[in-house]
């Protein structure tokens, strides 16, 4: 953008002012469109696909709180094209847009001012920086609920039954169900 604008200023005779404005505008638009937005993964494991296709195995998963660059969204705003930060720069692919969120997620206190179970953690915030750790919230609710631990163990046992994506794909194929077609 700087080069375009300076050239328009430096050579007004060769490039009329209107053209310069247009060039600046175009460059700005281009840069704005290309500028990635930093987002955080807001689910425990966000699947990353090589293509926008539900019926492919996820090639990796990003953990809750991982910061990514959102390069673009598809027209329906269902899929986001991302690449990773936080040491996972090599990851590039597509994930569900709603799995990403704008504010930074902080899962642990940087100065160690509170720990899980500490009364100061009851407010469940990570300072003013952004979102905290949902497992901390869930843990505190579990401790403070006054309900039987057995009831939460049942919930735990139910949650342990989550089926991996790849197994679902196999199940669909074996049952003559839909195994292609991409979107949701």
């Amino acid at each position: 953008m700087n080069e375009s604008s300076s050239r328009a200023t430096r050579f007004p005779g060769r490039a009329p002012a209107g053209v310069g404005v247009i060039l600046i505008g175009l460059a700005t638009v281009t840069l704005a469109a290309a500028k990635p937005t930093l987002r955080s993964v807001q689910v425990r494991k966000a699947p990353v696909f090589r293509e926008r296709d539900l019926y492919q195995p996820a090639y990796t998963y990003l953990d809750y709180g991982t910061r990514v660059r959102e390069l673009e969204r598809d027209e329906e705003k269902t899929w986001s094209h991302i690449n990773g930060t936080d040491g996972v720069d090599s990851i590039i692919g597509w994930t569900f847009s709603y799995c990403l969120i704008e504010p930074e997620i902080v899962t642990r206190s940087k100065n160690g001012e509170f720990q899980p179970g500490d009364a100061n953690a009851r407010a469940m915030v990570a300072g003013d920086k952004g979102l905290g750790d949902p497992d901390l919230k869930a843990g505190l609710l579990r401790i403070d609920s006054g309900m039987s631990e057995a009831d939460f163990l049942l919930v735990d046992s139910l949650e342990a039954r989550r089926v991996p994506h790849e197994d679902v794909l196999r199940f669909l194929a074996e049952g003559d169900l839909r195994t292609s077609g991409g979107g949701q």
Binding site: R122, A123, D144, S145, S148, L154, V155, R161, G175
Partner: protein, 307 residues
Amino acid sequence: MKTRSLLVHLLPIVLTLGITGLGLALPRIDKIIHKGKGLIKSKSLVDAMLEQDDYVLGRTVLAKTFSKNRASLDREKLFDIREPLVSDPEATRYVSMIGSAVALHSSRPQLFHGYCFGILNSAEINACSSPGGHVVVTLGLLLLCRSEDEVAAVLAHEVAHVALRHGVRSLDKSGLLSDIRDVAIDVGNLAGADTRDVAKVANGFSGKLFDTLLDKGYDRDFEYEADREAVRILERTGYDPLALVRVLGYLEQSGQSKEVPGLARSHPSPRDRIKKLQSMIAGTPPRDSSSARTRRFESEFAALRAG
């Protein structure tokens, strides 16, 4: 973003306080409350709720469901308290697979933790879901189903409730989310408000919250909406979209729907639900279950059926 911050932080506090009934010291609550001052009013309160909120709320609601029914076991006998979840590994995995297959074709295939499915050890005909994606279906309802497609129909209805966020939308509809926001703003305006006072106010919401999610259940509009979405999910997954209507027919015949206890007491009658679906499914030809699906249905549920 501030709307998000407020709801994200306040709702779990309401939950915590509500469940304990205690005015706990919350050293940072005043700070949180002050975040409410700058709410973006035009933003939907439901949209402001995050995936993690649904999950934390859902976990607690489900535990509360178990807890509540444990306490009232003698009266309602909703499930076998000695072993609330059916432990048959084949049947449990099969139900999880079917549920995950339909969830993949919902509008929200990925939740904070993911969908998880269980079989409640009860002869009642019932199913329920939590905002966090926990879905339980009773043994009684499963045994009513005659094919995998029909089991998928039951689960697709519950997945639809989750995907369409009927849990938090119920809270919104009941005014609860708005009440929390308003009180947060009011209290936030009281400079130096004592955190115990804030806790007291927040505590007042908890009864309403569980009343909305557990006792009243989803209202009729949400049930009809979940039925329509379930038919779409079935179609997208490759199951017979008419399977839901068949299951509703069995429910009608069973007669249990007239006195459905517990979680489904607000459901409209199966007859009304079928009627509402008629225009949507008119002209849709039935899709035969494949031989592969028939085989695995017979095989995976064999132990369950043998009792």
